[in-house]
Amino acid sequence: MRLLPAALLLFLPVVAHAAEGGMPQLDFANPLTTSQVVWGAIIFVVLYILASRFALPKVGEVLEERASRIAQDLETAQAAKAKSDAAVLEMTEATAKARADAQATINAELEKAKAKAAEQAAVLNEKLERQLAESEAQIVAARTAAMGALRQVATDTAQTVVARLTGTAPDQARLNAAIGGALASRGLG
């Protein structure tokens, strides 16, 4: 629409010239001006009938076919997805169950092994305790024996030393008492 005034302004001389001869479009004296409309109407009606009856339904058919095909494919895909989702869920559940089972077995075995180890440790402890007690008893016996011998050694040594120093054998009773006192003062009597 905007083009028209600009064109008219630009080509005013042309339009003026045209007015002399007249626009062929407005020459209604020419029978062709009206006959083209009559023929145009016929052509348009034929085109409308051919398009609406044959050509357009063909396009519509193909489009509908495609739409239904797409819908169907989508549906199939949806079903497949649901199926795979269910399978995944099942697998997850199975995995969880297997894991729990395995954990339970492991725990049971662990408890059993712990109990067994504790038992063995107890037995071993008892044995060691016994051995320790035995050893301690032996040590005490050995110590007692050694302590007994100590008095004899001390008596003998003292007798010999006194005999050497004095030349006379010491009085047995006094020696015994002195040694007994010395040992007692050192806590060995």
Partner: protein, 252 residues
């Protein structure tokens, strides 16, 4: 060029009607304008027929074009008119492609543009007007005439408003037809004028070659512009038809 002389540009003889198809056409006043209409119709049908022949699930280029044409016009109808638009789809489709091919073919050299004839565009707009009015009467009966009485208007002004509404309703015929006719004619006059400039200036020797070249550049740009106008005007005609049909179906 006109016979009166080489100094005047005859931009209008391109719109002169003559008979086509030899003596047979002449005997029934079949014009070259009608020949172009037949070609426009054949192109429309060929687009659909040849394009849809493969019936492919994944369309090729021509089939995609045919489907796009179908879906564009269908959505134009359903979006503008509403769900009832499907009924009018074949009509709007035929109208749009008849005008579109008529406009586009007119840009080719030696081709005749039947949409540059007011008689043709007037007939088309009358067809639309009659269809719209018949549809409105069929849908709403006599209630249709309430269309001309705007709501919320003081009683005193009602006769005036009705008069204005009736005039605006009737002027659709003129605006619809003149819009298409004027656009097509103006474009073709400009093309002819600049084309004549090229010839006249080119013949004037070395001095004329630069303006002749400029005219050629203008004409080149104009052809692109004409292609745009051709498509746009066909679209506008179809969209306005849809809007009028919407009014007819829904009354406002």
């Amino acid at each position: 060029m006109a016979a009166e002389g080489s100094s005047s540009i005859d931009a209008l003889s391109q719109f002169k009607l003559s008979t086509a198809l030899g003596p047979i056409g002449a005997s029934v006043n079949f014009t070259q304008s009608n020949l172009m209409m037949v070609i426009a119709g054949l192109l429309t049908l060929a687009l659909l027929w040849v394009g849809m022949r493969p019936r492919a699930m994944v369309p090729g280029r021509l089939q995609a074009a045919a489907e796009m044409a179908y879906e564009t016009i269908l959505s134009m109808c359903t979006e503008t008119i509403g769900p009832e638009g499907r009924k009018f789809f074949p009509f709007v489709f035929t109208l749009f492609f008849f005008i579109l091919f008529g406009n586009l073919m007119g840009v080719f050299p030696y081709a005749f543009t039947f949409t540059s004839h007011i008689a043709v565009t007037l007939a088309l707009s009358l067809l639309v007007f009659v269809l719209v009015t018949v549809v409105a009467l069929k849908e709403h009966g006599l209630h249709f005439f309430s269309y001309f009485v705007p709501a919320g208007v003081p009683k005193v002004l009602t006769p005036l408003m009705v008069l204005i509404e009736v005039i605006s309703y009737l002027s659709r015929i003129i605006s619809l037809s003149v819009r298409l006719f004027a656009n097509m004619m103006a474009g073709h006059v400009m093309l002819e004028v600049f084309g004549a400039f090229i010839v006249m200036l080119g013949a004037a020797g070395l001095i004329g070659w630069i303006p002749a070249g400029l005219s050629l550049a203008v004409n080149t740009a104009l052809i692109g512009f004409e292609l745009l106008v051709a498509t746009l005007q066909a679209y506008v005609f179809a969209v306005l038809t849809c809007i009028y049909l919407h009014d007819a179906v829904h009354l406002h």
